[in-house]
């Protein structure tokens, strides 16, 4: 079962710490969004494999935008 990884806030993607196909553990930091001078980390919602990454470093994203999927 795959699950979308969504942006909790609007901002700029300043780090992508994973690659498609990579195995991750729950709560591992996978993206960092910069907004309002602060860095918000996006953590893996569960143990799994990153199925897809839908943004690239430097992208501006809106709140609730899909950043990737985990399976």
């Amino acid at each position: 079962m795959s699950e979308d990884i969504v942006a909790p806030l609007a901002g700029k993607i300043i780090a992508i710490n994973i690659e498609a196909g990579q195995k991750v553990e729950e709560d591992e930091e996978i993206f960092i969004i910069e907004a309002m001078k602060m860095e918000t980390s996006i953590y893996a919602p569960c143990d799994g494999t990153i199925k897809a990454i839908k943004v690239k470093k430097g992208d501006s994203v809106e709140e609730d935008a899909i950043l990737g999927t985990i399976e």
Binding site: P8, V24, E25, D27, E28, E29, A35, S41, Y43, E63
Partner: protein, 577 residues
Amino acid sequence: MRPYFEQMNTFGTEIKKGAIKRTEENVEAFLDAESQIDAEVARVKNAGFSTEKINARGEMTVWQRIDYLVDEGSWTPLHTIYNPANNEEGTTNVIDGLGKISGKWAVIIGFDNKVMAGAWLPGQSDNILRVTDLAKRLNVPLIWLVNCSGAKLPEQEKFYANRRGAGTPFFRHAELEQMGIPVLAGIYGTNPAGGGYQSISPTVLFAHKNCNIAVGGAGIVSGMAPQGGFTTEMAEVLIEKAKENRAKPPGSVKTHYDETGFFRYVFEEEKGVLDGLKDYMKDMPAYNPKFFRVAEPKEPAFAQEDILRLLPIEQKKVYEFDEILARVVDGAEHLEFRAGYGPEIYTGLCKVDGFLVACIGNRQGYLGKDYPEYADYPGIGGKLYRQGLIKMNEFVTLCGRDRVPIIWFQDTSGIDVGDIAEKAELLGLGQSLIYSIQQTDIPMMLVVLRKGSAAAHYVLGGPQANRHNAFTIGTAATEIYVMHGETAAVATYARRLVKEKESGNDLQPIVDKMNELAKSYYDKSRPIFCAKNGLVDEIVKLTDIRKYMQAFVGSAYQNPKSICPQHQMILPRIIKG
């Protein structure tokens, strides 16, 4: 009220494997930063003569005296690297902190007899005033370990006189005594002039057999009226007189035990003095803790080491404040006040060692698209908005009514700014919080987890609330400044940049100045700078935050001047609804 407090709501979650993996670097960075603080503390401990040299004279060092005096594991040092005058000795030459003696909390302070035989140094009187303020705020005994050779004469102009100068602590001692707060003094060594008043101003004097206290010491007694200079003949006379006085200094035990009776007790051994203090402390006024406890003490539900993973040392990284709080209170239990309202701020009742304590802290991260409700821009934790300020005003006021001590946790970039924020009354609400704090008359403690900045540093129980703030601790991630250095550089040079641009001049010199200012802000906001200059009272390890909370709460409930019966408290009822 047992149903309210015995088992409160639990909060906090176990750290998961993924989080452990991603926070390894943070743990390393924190431990490295804490080791730098340790090095500064070691430098102060090793100042002056070696322990071996002092022991060879038959004396204990101040550190050994404190170690022998306090109950094991209770020493909670403060102001260890405080040195605001940047003395070459690297210390203000007094060592102080909270500690338990014979089971009771006391503020303890002693002269470092390894450094110039415990001389007065610049910055020392301000250190002592922080300590007398602490005893006054917590209403606990002040214990002195006097061993003071008097003023460091070549630098007397820096501390002898002035409003908060070296004589001020004697007035503070009198003030404490008038308030019913005992000041006990164990006295060692030679204590002339200033040292004499350090010895005589406490309430009960415990003397070592070799000590002496006097208005003037051998040096002054040997002197003569100023005659416009010195000659070798005069020097010969001085030598003879100095030898006589050295052999028989003024104010010895023979004078002040046998004749004046100033010394209540005299002890043969150094440890005997400390045993005397320990024995006296058994009789100092203190409630049995059960009088105030709302539940049996519980250990924290999570490891203190977790905090090394939960608090990012990188200032821009957001984190869950509630997870940190859950680590430092009894059993990860709390009763949150107005959850959901003013989401940038946590307010709630927790327990420390079974005592009720109010906690207030900045939450971090995005606050949702509809907050703050008065603005069309998003809110971010660390900043203060209208609801958070109103909530804190209410909570602090109710804590005052219910006589619950408050522990503040700061990591703030300031209060929301701009005309929209002005219309939302934030300026007035910030000062209202100061008013609310001032009217409570309850002790408070502050932990600056990371950032203390702008007016928010004041209103969130900062040390400026010095009738209420007993002490402030920082961490290896603490930084305190009016604003970020780069913001300050923009504020200082923005207009100048415009002017230079319009004149067609090279901008690089101004840019260089901006970078210099930003660097200066960085250097002057580091944890060691903050502790050295008194912006915090101690930098502590993350795993020791709870230990300081225990010392604060235990002291605050030892002998409070005002009581709210548990069954008459209103805050828990308001929380329950």
